[in-house]
């Protein structure tokens, strides 16, 4: 039995980071809000660095509920797309170095999204992680948790359903 030599770690990291960055950079609205993603293996954490323009209640002050919704929805869409492209990226079907907004796999479309606001969003950085609860050929169900200072004290959570991009599209 012959075994292929494992890929050098830098090659793997570069490929995964390039794919993630192409996915996120392709969406102007995520750039507008300043959303970033951190990767550990296949686990993603979305980061929303604080900015004055994200405020919805200047008196408290608190993050705008719409910003929280948009942040959690972006986390869900990128999390789902990331799970979708993972195999193709690892097997070499997709070459992340050549990815542009035009050649990127199409993103899933939101069918519905429900946000549960648990406490006011504080004027500081926010984090979120998505969990794909079901991913079928046509539909997916994704849950997202958002927090700020303490991982266990969520400031918002959300559940959404998504229409999968068709494979031949």
């Amino acid at each position: 039995m012959t075994r292929r030599a494992p890929e050098p770690v830098q090659v793997i990291k570069q490929r995964r980071d390039a794919a993630l960055s192409a996915l996120v950079r392709g969406v102007p609205y995520m750039q507008f809000l300043g959303i970033e993603f951190e990767r550990r293996g296949d686990e993603l954490t979305a980061i929303l660095p604080y900015d004055d323009k994200l405020i919805g209640n200047p008196l408290l002050p608190a993050l705008h509920g719409g910003v929280t919704a948009a942040f959690l929805e972006a986390t869900a869409i990128i999390g789902l797309s990331w799970a979708l492209i993972w195999d193709d990226m690892e097997s070499g079907v997709i070459d992340p170095r050549g990815l542009t907004p035009e050649t990127l796999p199409r993103l899933p479309k939101t069918i519905d999204f429900t946000v549960d606001y648990l406490r006011p969003g504080l004027p500081r950085d926010a984090y979120a992680r998505a969990r794909v609860n079901r991913s079928g050929r046509r539909y997916a169900s994704v849950h997202v948790e958002g927090w700020q200072d303490n991982r266990a004290r969520l400031f918002a959570q959300a559940t959404g359903h998504f229409l999968m991009p068709s494979r031949d599209d």
């Binding site: 392709g26 969406v27 102007p28 609205y29 750039q31 507008f32 809000l33 004055d52 323009k53 994200l54 405020i55 919805g56 209640n57 200047p58 608190a62 705008h64 509920g65 719409g66 910003v67 919704a69 948009a70 942040f71 929805e73 972006a74 907004p101 035009e102 990127l104 199409r106 993103l107 479309k109 939101t110 069918i111 519905d112 999204f113 429900t114 946000v115 549960d116 606001y117 006011p120």
Partner: protein
Amino acid sequence: MSDDKARIARQFIQAIPHSRALSMQVEEIGNGVAEISMPYDERLVGDPRSRVISGGAVSALLDTCGGASVMCHPTGPQGTATIDLRIDYMRAATPGQRITARAECYHVTRSVAFVRATAMDEDRDNPVATASGAFTVERPKAQRT
């Protein structure tokens, strides 16, 4: 709602930093009904290939509009925050067109307000998204008992 109250509500909403960032404009406000619009903007695009505006930006508009409908309810809440908001996306908004949201605060209790809202582009007969949500109602201290 008196013209004066409506004017204050309008100023209040247009002073929200994030609403300003999205160039939201109050079209109508009073008696628990609010209509707020937002111009198409390349920075708000969610799908780079179709140039369709992001669902998140539509959420922000619907959330603002929902809050505004609570604030202008005749029972006079002093403040509000979203408890829960569900958005159904019916279709992609046409790129280049202004998005308008219309929200109605159809029921309030002492501490909760219930809201329905619709987002439309220039084709007002075919909504882009609908929303329903619950909001907190902040009352003046004396009224709380």
